[in-house]
Symmetry: C2
Amino acid sequence: MLGKLSVIGIGPGDPELLTLKAVRIIKESQVLCVPKGREEGSSLALSIVEKAVALEGKEVLEAHFPMMKTRKSKGAEKDELDAKWSSAAADMLAKLKEGLDVAFPTLGDPTIYSTFFYLYDKLIELEPDLEIEIVPGVSSINAAAARANIYLGLGNDSIAVLPANYMDNLKSTLSTFNTVVLMKVNKVLNDIVKLLDEMGLADKAVCVSRVGMEDEEVIDDIRSIKQEELNYFSMIIVRK
Amino acid sequence: MLGKLSVIGIGPGDPELLTLKAVRIIKESQVLCVPKGREEGSSLALSIVEKAVALEGKEVLEAHFPMMKTRKSKGAEKDELDAKWSSAAADMLAKLKEGLDVAFPTLGDPTIYSTFFYLYDKLIELEPDLEIEIVPGVSSINAAAARANIYLGLGNDSIAVLPANYMDNLKSTLSTFNTVVLMKVNKVLNDIVKLLDEMGLADKAVCVSRVGMEDEEVIDDIRSIKQEELNYFSMIIVRK
């Protein structure tokens, strides 16, 4: 009898933004699977969860997840990444095959740029009968807008969300959409500020950094930001 | 001493998708302000909240919120709507001025098409010192993708969210973005299915209706849907 796998959105960082359902399923699961530490050697997701749920007696499976570029890799690099994903999937499946329920907490909402979906196909390939429940969570995008006291959309507004490496379509998207959310701006901030300035939109933009975490910041004057000081967890919301 | 106003995202319908923070603030607030019944005479938001939090002893303020078209109305109609919004704002302020904390629960996430933001400016205009906290919640968009077991974005994917009346830009948006979420499709379904068919995208689309509610539905074959039977709370997610 296979255990059940639950992929759980835990919100952007504030442990109070876990849902009642997230708390219940984590409590009920015997095993917690977390990505092996990206931030200072310990899993960020785990550190948030343990502030909201007592984890004593649970097994914590730390799986190594390769970085996000998987889908664009080729040749030997692709094979190597693929092998790592397969190995992470096999580790999780071993627990599920023992009949244990596994919870996989993921920052924000699982459907928004969560690494988990790289695993999804591997898991189903290895075990077609596996039951996977995706438990939605508060996305960092919604939390950032809330923190800045603005809406993302109202009435018939259109909203675009663009991750990094989007400079190609940025101008036309900014012309067409009422709200544009730019994710992971830390590497391209200077180019973005320049374009927004040219389009007369710099004053319509707000930058939210590390939303939901203790050192979160809302920066209204995006021109004042130094690109090299900006954190990876930073986004800009432009609302026309 | 003014009370505090908290605008609280309660998620798409499942009471378990309230966050810990939503539950705490609703418990701590003396007054709950809810829109006067859109659905069969009782407030949908209230019926969800009361399944997660005991509301005994709390005052429930039912405010009449005019329909969403406010921003496009003109002349006498605009004045009438404006007066209704002002009156709703005044009712809430009266409670806050008694020093009572007011919670305003809103379906999904407050920053995603929530009626509350029509009130925001009125409230600040009447009472510039008012403290308003926006508490983010699980958006119906994220919940719908989770329910359909798909992601909205992965890696460098771009995401567009379009509400109804978007047929103008739909084709170019479908060409440019990796994922397109079409809200409130119930009035325009036939046109959408026709366009998606022409673009070879009908098989990449899924319709999710009343996500988070007891009668939620995921419909993989969008061609099988009858427009006249589709609920207002329905969206289509196209993922290329």
